[in-house]
Symmetry: C2
Subunit: 217 residues, 2 copies
Amino acid sequence: MTTAHHAPGETRPGGRTARTRKAVLAAVFQELEDGGFAGLTMEKVAQRAGIHVATLYRRWRSVEGLVCELLAERSSDVPLPDTGSLPEDLRVLARSIADFYGEARMSCLIEAVVSAAARDPQAAAVMRSVFGERLALAGRMVRRAVERGELPADTDPEAVMSALGAPFSYRILIARRPVDRDLADSAATAVWAAARAGAYTRRSGGGPANDTPPGGS
Amino acid sequence: MTTAHHAPGETRPGGRTARTRKAVLAAVFQELEDGGFAGLTMEKVAQRAGIHVATLYRRWRSVEGLVCELLAERSSDVPLPDTGSLPEDLRVLARSIADFYGEARMSCLIEAVVSAAARDPQAAAVMRSVFGERLALAGRMVRRAVERGELPADTDPEAVMSALGAPFSYRILIARRPVDRDLADSAATAVWAAARAGAYTRRSGGGPANDTPPGGS
């Protein structure tokens, strides 16, 4: 429980409101683990968090709102490496993503958020902004690689990072099988080879497939 | 409308049952276009298809069942090329996928199916089997390329085809932006470079990222 870090009466920036939020998000996470998104209701979350359901509705409106806020909170848990080498950065980040989604309730969360976005335009907007921010941050990794001369100068950083994330969402949402380290290593190897082959350059998606990837360094 | 191919009184294998099914799936497709998955109800589908809602419930149980059956029917609409060259096959197939999901209601459909699977284990099973069958079929493209010596012998055909599909589902479900031909060309270039670099071989997902992709032919 994330609330365990703070004593009940403790005063701190955010204070009671911040504590309620932490308790609510922890309750949502636990409920997702127990019953998935299908079983998630405002009533169960309120009961587990120990707050009035009216308070919950007032601040979060719907289960869609809850899962989006939980995603926003958790997505910053995956650290962004800076090892000095893009293939190594990609490998480390891919493994962190695999560990993150290796937890069943994290797979449940991403599934819940996609379902929420399908039903609720506000959830869709939150989701776009959460992933957009993460992509922009992670894109720094690619910009450093371009500066080091590892990748073509016109590489689109967000296209590279989207390509690293894509196999995970495909595995979870479409193939519906668990993510593992093999997937992580495959994704990292693939994105590195593809980026060097110019698949993510800004000119029209890399043009036609080439027989020999253009070299470099 | 798919029903337009057959005159109303025409007798053919499946007959009335097959016609009802076509009318129902066409109605689901139209309803998805009009109101997305959020607005889809059994009542609206029955009304549009001109059948009793009780018949609809008896045969399809839920909107989840309907969208899964529609996906199964439509997924065979994307032709699998055989041009004699894997990079060209990948490019042609990626463009067909882009055209397929370029239609807003097809993006809606895949979103609907993922939402359905999140809520309903039976929908999840249908989805796994639909995509599993498509992957197995599309894998032939990769097996032919291995026979031609274009790819390492231990390449996993379904891993290659999953990698081609992943950027599309990421774009639709996570980034929530339209798919286009740039994405298709980027995906095809990426998968070809990555496959040649050994990212999809059966030994542990390609191992650590290599600086220089191993060559060939």
